[in-house]
Amino acid sequence: MSLLSVENLVVRHGLLQAVRGVSFSIERGETLALVGANGAGKTTLLRAIAGAHQPAAGRVLLDGADLTSVPSHRRVGMGIALVPEGRKLFVQMTVEENLLLGRTAGRPGEWSVDKVLDMFPNLRPRRHAKTGHLSGGEQQATAIGRALMSNPEVLLLDEVSLGLSPLIVDRVYAALQGLIASGTTIILVEQDLNRALSVSDRVICMLEGRVALEGPSKAVSRDNVTKAYFGLHRKSPGSVPA
């Protein structure tokens, strides 16, 4: 049985249909990359899995159990943790407090404040600083740490490299590689196609709320993904943007 599966999921924002009948599943230990243009529905899909959006139709299953009507805070306890787009830290609270919050409903496990600080050593001196005063990279590290504190079975990462300098992105991804190596199941949304393909086992490309392409990251060519990305595979491939 797949660890997490999504069946014919439909999510609306008012009249706008952001996700239109998406299905996929992910196995334990797998890393899945969601790519696609802005507005393709990646973030909405991720947030629906985490329980931040109530779907209009379809189901979300974890280990076969139907989560569709479970509120977001209880999904954390069942093993789903989201690192939201824009990090969404509690800026009036310290790094440590943000991390401890991650443990509110989390599962028992190995993660602790110290272990997060070991993973991101540059956070250690900022432990008691309000997160509103942190740099972008430190904030992102805190956001990832906060999600890990709940000892998730599935970690959902939404645009973790957004707004960070390339050097910091390298560091964040180095840390993620460690998580992947330790067997954490990850779904990540990433704008940087090269990074998405290199870090993941499988890739799903979304277009206008639907799955446009799905395949193993090693097997799909960058060219194919690019075409799916822009919705060109149905039309004549004119000039494919680089």
Binding site: R74, V76, L82, R87, Q92, L100, T104
Partner: protein, 298 residues
């Protein structure tokens, strides 16, 4: 004069008590509860009823009334505020105002127009005093009141920073959606916060009844005192409400020196002056007088 200043400072303890629940609830749920004062008067009546009918001393009666207030807070949040807050920021003002009218008139229906006091039920405490150096007499009740305010504010501060539930409440106040995503039950956090606020209201009602008289329509002035103390104290920390309460009480004491009817005028005037200074120094960026945290995430 120094005697009056000390009395004023101690009275500030009462205002801090009544204000801290109002600003606590506002900072967590962004709701100004216009039934705040009426609920304090309700608690005072409940204690009076227990004392006059069943001879339960008010301090013992608190053991019954405070849990009752906590339950009321929980129900208030679950059945009224949660629902009306979904209709926007203006609706809760109307809902809680309507609730205040209901409470005031129900109290009138039940207890009549007579003014009551808890003073007869607390023995010598209502008039006993200590003599301090410089032949200053301070009422024991006033000192207890002030000490309660300090302990309550300190306790709340510790609770909010040191406990998991306290952190959950702070996280919910900053961003309820994200709080849910990290595992905080925002509805529960809000209900707990409302319960805590109502417990503080219950305490304030108890001291209102012990230090003075009250009647069914005494809720409105208590609400105004609470609001004024909270705004004068300003945003930032719970300790601000203590400062605000003291400033309000001192202004009232000073007002009473100037004119026989100057007590209330002095309080309102200092509130408006503080407001004016705050508005003219903060520029257009003023988003809220009472709010503690800013809502923007990153």
């Amino acid at each position: 004069m120094s005697n009056q200043i000390i009395q004023g400072i101690l009275l500030g303890g009462y205002y801090a008590l009544i204000a801290c629940g109002l600003s606590f609830m506002f900072s967590v749920m962004r709701i100004i509860n216009l039934a705040h004062g009426s609920l304090a008067v309700f608690a005072a009546f409940a204690l009076w009823w227990l004392a006059s009918r069943y001879h339960i001393p008010p301090f013992v009666g608190l053991l019954i009334v405070l849990p009752l207030m906590a339950a009321i807070g929980w129900a208030l949040q679950r059945f009224l505020l949660e629902r009306s807050a979904r209709g926007g920021t203006l609706l809760p003002i109307l809902t809680t105002f309507g609730l205040a009218i209901v409470i005031d008139n129900m109290l009138f229906e039940q207890f009549g127009a007579d003014t009551r006091s808890l003073a007869p039920y607390i023995g010598s405490l209502s008039y006993a005093s200590w003599e301090w150096p410089g032949s200053i007499y301070v009422g024991k009740l006033a000192v207890i009141m002030f000490a309660t305010a300090v302990i309550l504010l300190g306790g709340l501060q510790l609770f909010l920073t040191r406990t998991r539930l306290g952190r959950s409440i702070r996280a919910t106040s900053e961003d309820p959606d994200t709080a849910g995503l990290v595992g905080v039950d925002a509805r529960r956090a809000n209900a707990v916060a409302a319960s805590i606020a109502m417990v503080t209201v219950g305490l304030a009602g108890a001291f209102l009844g012990m230090r003075a008289t009250f009647d069914p329509y005494a809720g409105a002035p208590q609400l105004l005192f609470a609001f004024e103390a909270a705004v004068i104290g300003g945003a930032g920390s719970l300790w601000g409400t203590l400062v605000g309460g003291i400033v309000l009480a001192l202004a009232q004491t000073l007002g009473a020196q100037v004119h026989p009817q100057g007590f209330l005028i002095g309080g309102h005037a200092v509130f408006l002056v503080v407001l004016f200074v705050r508005l003219s120094t903060s520029g257009l960026g003023l988003r809220g007088l009472l709010r503690l945290p800013s809502r923007s995430a990153s």
